[in-house]
């Protein structure tokens, strides 16, 4: 059994993906970070050993809190009024690519933004969150067929949007970046 991880180690590994996912559900970066803060703290209190088997629950918590926040959007305004900490700009980029991929990142960001939210959500959870379709189905309270269908529709839509730029984009990429959490191996791959 792996040694328990500190919250910081776990946070450093999952936070970028969590914020990326939260940003698909919230209007701004600041809102997304609020959501991630609440979700991570709740999750860590419940699973202080940082077992990656419970990561899908963390994404589910992000989703629940983000949807709750939509209903009551007063918290951020209050926190901004009370806090002197500088908040990240609303224009903060979603991705942090190396310089040679900046253009590709901008194009992909725009393409993702044009997807319906439910498709964008599934793509984010699958590709960056590393969740299986079954885990995504559980987190989003949808059937696995619905999740798989949304993923296919999303990829088809992205394919159409990005096909004209194929040569430029592929030239900029250096192959897939593995996004597995290193603090606990995850072997399941359901497609």
């Amino acid at each position: 059994m792996a040694a328990p991880f500190s919250w910081k180690q776990c946070f450093d590994q999952v936070a970028p993906n969590l914020v990326l996912y939260a940003r698909q559900l919230t209007p701004s970066r600041a809102d997304a970070e609020d959501v991630v803060q609440m979700a991570f703290v709740r999750w860590w209190r419940r699973f202080p050993e940082g077992d990656s088997a419970h990561i899908p629950l963390l994404y589910a918590a992000v989703r629940t809190i983000a949807l709750d926040q939509r209903r009551s959007d007063t918290r951020r305004a209050r926190r901004e009024a009370e806090s002197e900490i500088a908040l990240p700009s609303e224009n903060t980029p979603v991705f942090d690519p190396p310089p040679e991929q900046k253009e590709a990142a901008a194009i992909v960001t725009a393409a993702l933004a044009r997807l319906p939210e439910e498709q964008r959500e599934v793509v984010t959870l699958k590709l960056w969150g590393g969740l299986t379709f079954q885990e995504i189905a559980t987190a989003t309270a949808c059937s696995i067929n619905t999740v798989a269908g949304r993923y296919r529709y999303a990829l088809n839509a992205l394919q159409k949007q990005l096909a004209p730029l194929k040569d430029d984009l592929v030239a900029e990429t250096h192959g897939p970046a593995l996004n597995l959490l290193t603090f606990s191996p995850k072997s399941e791959a359901l497609t």
Binding site: W7, K8, F11, A15, P16, N17, L18, V19, L20, R29, E33, V36, Q37, F40, V41, W44, R45, R46, I85, A86, L87, P88, T92, P93, V94, F95, D96, P97, Q101, A104, A105, V108, V123, L127, W128, L155, L158, Q159, L162, A163, K166, L169, V170, T173, H174, G175, P176, A177, L178, N179
Partner: protein, 154 residues
């Protein structure tokens, strides 16, 4: 560009790192949890509820002799275990007087002085909360106390 190319392209883009303020805020919240857990145990505040017979004993020293029923020690043990849990915060301690019974005036066998005997039936409710998840623990302790008050015939 097939699906695999799309997936590879998307996965090659690392998400932007969250702001440093986010990590500080999480750190602050989790550190607060640790402070709760580390804090020394607090004893529930004890206070006596107003007693109907206070007019009799207000001017005199009150001698209280507690006659605890058999169930009370066990309840005390449970109470002590709950209080010993360092992560819990005491919320309320309430003592509610359920009944009072005047048992009359008796004469002390040794001092031969008159004493007013009063049976006081009460219920103590102690509540704690776990700040980490908001869970509440409530313990009710029934009490019967025989209160002996000095009597002065004038």
């Amino acid at each position: 560009m097939n699906e695999h190319d799309i997936e590879s392209l998307l996965q090659s883009l690392p998400p932007a790192a969250p702001s440093a303020a986010l990590a500080r805020r999480v750190d602050s919240e989790l550190e607060q949890d640790m402070q709760w857990a580390r804090q020394p145990q607090r004893r529930p505040v004890r206070w006596l509820a107003p007693v109907m017979w206070s007019s009799l004993g207000a001017a005199a020293a009150v001698l209280v002799m507690s006659v605890a029923p058999q169930a009370v020690p066990a309840a005390h043990n449970r109470l002590a275990q709950a209080v010993d849990m360092p992560a819990l915060l005491p919320v309320t301690t309430i003592r509610e007087v359920v009944d009072t019974q005047d048992q009359g005036i008796r004469y002390n066998s040794q001092s031969l002085l008159p004493e007013q005997h009063v049976l006081l039936v009460s219920l103590e409710r102690h509540a704690w909360t776990d700040p980490r998840d908001g869970a509440q623990i409530t313990v009710e302790v029934p009490r019967e106390e025989s209160v002996v008050l000095p009597v002065a015939f004038q």
